[in-house]
């Protein structure tokens, strides 16, 4: 009896653990799920899934793939394996400092062979930057900031948020009545129509209309933070934007879809590098070797 008070904290702790949400994984084997379990899950999907926030990781990936396919149908991919790999490494580096370093299939970068100054981020981790945009970039820290801006659009789900809710609710309704792993021709036709609308919403926003100023300013703020946390110089973002402001007379691409670069600079406060930031001759060397456009 004398030991009871001493045991009380332990009992409390155990009670807290027992109250946790636990997965019923009794039927799981080796980390995979059966068709029967899949049916169980999808039958009920309609009830809770209502909007963009309820798009799953895998659905985000498939929407992003189709947005990427549309962009790569419109712009020719640049066949420069060294440059593409270099840009991908820089993007992956800053993505580790974001809130979403792990995506369904990771981050992927493709340089586009066009004289239009632009960069896009499709949902699910697909990043595009044009050859003309890279010509304005003067060092790896600036490239890291450009990539970080695109990573921020993905991490904050800006692309997904452009999808009209009605498209999703109709898709979720079709899903809710589904009971087998494959769809019937009629269901696939209805789902494809909703999917097509969702992809068009994102493509139009990325390529034609552009995000709202607030979303662009938000992406700039987080880009500076990611760059800093990845030990790049966040001040490189301002330097790049100031150079872009000088070049903005050409009109199209990023100049049409983004707020004025001078205003973007004004929106950014003081940008100081982290204590671990180091200048590096190796960064300068490899940038010159990879980005020789």
């Amino acid at each position: 009896m004398k030991n009871l008070p001493r045991l009380a904290p332990v009992a409390l702790l155990l009670a807290g653990c027992a109250g946790l949400d636990r997965l019923d994984v009794s039927a799981l084997s080796g980390g995979y799920i059966t068709d029967s379990q899949a049916r169980s899950l999808t039958r009920a999907a309609t009830a809770l899934r209502k909007g963009v926030e309820d798009i799953s990781e895998s659905e985000e990936y498939y929407i992003g793939r189709s947005v990427a396919a549309q962009i790569l149908g419109k712009y020719k991919p640049l066949d420069d394996p060294g440059l593409n790999l270099y840009a991908q490494k820089v993007a992956q580096a800053v993505s580790l400092a974001s809130e979403r370093p792990a995506l369904f299939q990771g981050y992927h970068v493709q340089v586009l062979d066009t004289d239009e100054v632009n960069a896009f981020a499709a949902p699910g981790g697909f990043i595009f930057v044009t050859k003309a945009m890279l010509k304005l970039v003067k060092d790896e820290d600036e490239l890291a900031c450009v990539m970080a801006h695109e990573v921020a659009h993905i991490a904050k789900k800006h692309g997904l948020k452009t999808i009209q809710t009605s498209r999703l609710t109709s898709a979720f309704a079709i899903l809710g009545s589904e009971a087998v792993k494959s769809y019937t021709p009629q269901q696939i036709s209805q789902l494809t129509a909703a999917f097509e609308g969702a992809v068009d919403d994102v493509v139009n926003k990325l390529v034609v209309n552009g995000y709202s100023r607030d979303k662009e300013y938000e992406a700039d703020r987080f880009a500076a933070q990611y760059a800093k946390d990845a030990n790049y110089d966040p001040g490189a973002l301002k330097r790049f934007l100031e150079r872009m402001a000088q070049a903005s007379s050409s009109g199209g691409g990023v100049f049409k879809t983004h707020p004025d670069a001078r205003k973007r600079v004004d929106e950014l406060g003081a940008l100081l590098p982290s204590a671990d930031h180091r200048r590096s001759s190796e960064r300068a060397k490899r940038f010159s070797a990879a980005v020789s456009l």
Binding site: G16, S40, Y62, N84, F104
Partner: protein, 154 residues
């Protein structure tokens, strides 16, 4: 004095958020690396695949600690995910559950979309996705560029 200390201890134990102590996490990405330390460039201790579950503590600094290693919180969900016998789960399925079931907008929908949209260049997307940077290659890249300290991978 001793009594007050006990009361404070009891109060702290009761208030401690249970989620900090333990949770079951489910992997929601195709594949992710488990690490020996709570750091991206720490040595790998294994690989976790979509749908695998782990008993974990945390998260702390963005990482859950499992018996198999550390896993980043962006790769998992801690929401209640019920995988029952195949009967309806009563209208409580979530986006996470749809990912695990491989449903919703999936490869079948993409195939149908591709058939209707000839201008969509999926072969270029596939080529883009094949370009992969391994953990060790990225670590070498960052180290050479002075972005992480030399030897910061143990």
């Amino acid at each position: 004095m001793k009594k007050t200390r006990w009361r404070l201890f009891l109060l702290a134990a009761a208030l401690l958020p249970s989620s900090v102590l333990a949770a079951t996490v489910t992997v929601l990405v195709q594949e992710t690396t488990l690490r020996k330390r709570a750091q991206f460039f720490a040595l790998a201790s294994g690989t976790a695949k979509l749908g695998q579950t782990f008993e974990a503590s945390g998260p702390s600094g963005g990482w859950y600690k499992t018996d198999s290693g550390y896993i980043h919180q962006s790769a998992v969900a801690t929401k209640k995910i019920r995988l029952g016998s195949g009967e309806s789960v009563g209208g409580t399925a979530t986006a996470e559950e749809v990912t695990l079931a491989g449903k919703g907008f999936n490869a079948q929908v993409e195939k149908s979309y591709g058939a209707k949209n000839a201008s969509a260049n999926f072969s270029a997307v596939n080529a883009m996705e094949r370009r992969a940077v391994s953990d060790s290659a990225l670590r070498d890249f960052l180290r050479a560029g002075g972005l992480i300290p030399a030897g910061d991978s143990q």
